[in-house]
Symmetry: C2
DNA sequence: TAGTGGTCTAGACCACCAA
DNA sequence: TGGTGGTCTAGACCACTAC
């Protein structure tokens, strides 16, 4: 960041009447990319988030604070925060402040898992960790994670079972997940730490490794169960399964998790909303 | 609507300094449901959209017009329109105006069809209509469409094929759609009209029947191809297929289409983004 | 009571578009 | 040139939360 005292790199290119029209200058890149003030504020806030200045769950400075800091009006800061809140990077709480979003909260627990039971709406499932291995990335995994083929990766496999209640009834395996993580970011990850951790896995990634998922892309297909999946899910080989390939990203659109889930969709379905 | 002249049912419950604080009164329902001014404006605009005052593709009055009409400031109208634009009900075009969103445009053509080819990004597919029938609604269809079991419905089936280019190559069937529509809303729908119409089906529903889809819910599973699907898609019976059950809604969350698609996902996949 | 986000206004200027 | 949406400001008051 350029050393513009107390007013870093705001290019006053828009209809700012006068007050904020001083910090004129070309952005870091050099190319004259003029953008609205609130977009520049948004970028600055995002940079601080990415740098970890404000940690997940913590509150960020108040709108008036930020307005003073950036030498713009409250309304401009507000519009920047509005967009960040719409992107689920921040959470506003009236009377309390604005907070960095976190996966460790109950509400957002199922933001990424779209599997729903056909009857009822209890989505809680038991977890059973199968194995955790540190290996080298196969070519396709490396390509997805944007690392070099052969780089260290963590591969873990697990099963989700339902129902959770009534341990006398036999739990049915529903999801078989295979997860690939870049080894560089997840150094101390072990089966024990995973097993010990309560709460959502993405919450653990956040608090233990400082890796926060903010976005994901999924490719969904129908595939027949292979021998492994059939055994793990206790189904005949060839049973149609939902294959959900998810690539998750952190700040800066950096891919940090590749996950392939096989869902048994006889009493469950993948729910999607189109807007 | 209460007969408040030129200022229908605005309950001035919030921080309006003075100007718009006159139209005070309880909303129609009777219960004192206080909501921000911009929300009330939003509801009023939505009501006009639903009533068909402004047709899809047409422009709505300018922000200043609406502000004067509703006796609020431009900023308040702006916030209402912002939300409606975020919900894809309106489309803003700088310098031109604000327009009622329509499915008849190229850009939004694939808002609901999430199927993508694994290679390339040409999503165009050829359509082949199999049959159109007017029958009575089975129980499950009636329940989904919120009509009475036995009410008139239109059932139509079709196939989507790829690729479109190079007619010398044999086109491969990829999607087998079965669509149910309430007969009451789609009176003159026939195979001929469907075959004749160029452009997206939802565009036709809009211009020919005044039914605009604004939202949909999908339930996705993996199922084995039954005899019919196997024949239509030219696949062995039992082949895993993606079953996509879509329920589409118009204004007022009224369900108006039930669609079950069976997708062959060997060279295609269903793409989803999680935010 | 003080501080936070939430709403609303009034007025200014800019960017874009069409006539 | 005039009209439209887009940005920005300054200041007011409200609703909620904590002390």
């Amino acid at each position: 960041m350029p050393a513009t005292p107390s007013h870093p790199s705001l290019s006053g290119a828009s209809g700012a009447p006068e007050s904020a029209a001083d910090g004129v200058g070309l952005p870091v890149g050099g190319a004259p990319s003029f953008s609205p003030l609130y977009q520049q504020i948004k970028s600055l806030i995002m940079r601080e988030l990415q740098a970890g200045v404000w940690k997940p769950g913590e509150s960020i400075p108040s709108e008036l604070d930020l307005a003073a800091r950036f030498k713009v009006s409250q309304g401009t800061v507000r519009k920047a925060i509005d967009e960040l809140a719409a992107e689920n990077l921040l959470v506003r709480r009236q009377g309390k402040g604005t907070f960095v979003a976190t996966h460790a909260e109950e509400q957002i627990q199922y933001r990424f898992l779209r599997l729903m039971p056909d009857e009822g709406d209890d989505r809680t499932m038991a977890r059973r960790l199968l194995d955790v291995r540190r290996t080298r990335a196969p070519a396709d995994v490396a390509r997805a994670l944007d690392i070099k083929s052969g780089d260290a990766v963590v591969q873990l496999r697990r099963v989700l079972l339902t129902p959770v209640q009534d341990p006398s009834a036999r739990q049915q395996p529903v999801v078989f997940d295979e997860i690939w993580l870049p080894g560089q970011l997840f150094k101390g990850l072990s089966a024990e730490r995973l097993a010990d951790y309560k709460g959502p896995m993405y919450g653990m990634f956040e608090t233990e490794f400082g890796v926060r998922m903010i976005r994901a892309e999924e490719r969904i297909r129908a595939v027949p169960a292979d021998a492994t999946a059939a055994e793990v899910l206790a189904l005949p080989p060839g049973t149609p399964l939902l294959s959900v390939e998810r690539l998750s990203f952190t700040y800066g659109d950096k891919p940090v998790e590749l996950r392939r889930g096989l869902y048994h969709t006889v009493r469950h379905h993948y729910r999607n909303e189109l807007n």
